[in-house]
């Protein structure tokens, strides 16, 4: 039932080189989204990725 406008999404790495969060722009605001399915922003990112409308870029 979410309806967020996600314009950018890119993984960030932890010190061991693992994906730790996603830097995203949602409804015009930059945010650090944790990889927690119970987080509403991450749940929406997953939904849009599954729908093929969003791609999460690899970390730099």
């Amino acid at each position: 039932m979410e309806n967020m406008n996600i314009t950018t999404a890119q993984y960030s790495l932890d010190r061991e080189g693992n994906n730790s969060c996603i830097q995203a722009t949602i409804d015009g605001q930059e945010m650090s989204v944790p990889l927690d399915p119970a987080n509403r922003h991450y749940a929406e990112i997953l939904k849009q990725v599954e729908a093929g409308t969003l791609t999460i870029a690899d970390a730099d």
């Binding site: 039932m1 979410e2 309806n3 967020m4 406008n5 960030s12 932890d14 010190r15 730790s20 969060c21 409804d27 605001q29 930059e30 945010m31 650090s32 989204v33 944790p34 990889l35 927690d36 119970a38 987080n39 509403r40 922003h41 991450y42």
Partner: protein, 323 residues
Amino acid sequence: MALIKVKERGRESINLGRRNLVINGAILLDQRNGGSATTPTADQTATLDRFKARLNNASKYSVQQVTDAPSGFLKSLKVTSAAATTVGTNDFYQIATPLEGYTTNVLAQGSSTAKQYTISFYVKSSLTGTFGGAYSNDTGDRFYAWTYTIDAANTWERKSITITGATDGTWESTNGAGLHIYWTLGAGSGVQTSAGVWGTSFKRGATGTTDVVATNAATWQITGVQLEVGDTATPFEHRSYGEELAKCQRYFEKYNGNLAGGTDAAGSQWMSIQYKVTKRATPTITYGSIYSTIYNNNIDGFSVNRSSAGEAYITSPKFDAEL
């Protein structure tokens, strides 16, 4: 020896303290906007603590915490219509508050022993007539619309609606949304349904209700929101400001200033912050600026690391674990 007989109180149907399942029902908290009006442009926009805007067209109404409330209350949530909006067939405009599953298990929905429960609230509007609200589960395949009547314009009135909980469907029982409560400010005919019965289609409101957004500058206010088990609206359960703030901080917390940290043995700059309240889920973090990277974010806290000289810092951080 004289005997003292202790009179035993009835054991059933005494529902005293801790009966209100709604957080910020007295509208004391507005951490995000501090009493300033906000005009939601996106669905699910968080407004006052625990209350969000639901909409499919931007900027049709504003939401504000105001100091206008019935006797015994300090604040209310005020909606003001931005224009005389034509409500399209599938349009919807709502104020909603989702309750966490850990809180709503007491309703026993999804079972044959589902409880009766009662919502009560004080409402005031520049309009009169029949207005609507609704409940749903998180997946939206159980939906119940209800109505209430505002008899006099610009006058505080207390309303209550009692229903029997859904005996089927799937209801979140842990940290997901166990029950969504909606007050409808406008809903098109394609997203309306009959009031007073559980359905399996997700809608937005009840048929035959007033669209607040259809009247330019119309106002609608609410406070004293309480949802409790049973068929009776008991007096509103007032909680202290500090207690209510802590309850809200499970879902949203902000830090009014900058956080800066020190240096580890290897010369890397670190700081670790513990949240004031353990979060419902790992929160999304927003900030003014940061140097340079967030690590170890979880329900209890997070760290910021900077791998070069200078202090690690984050300015004006906000932590969002809303449903």
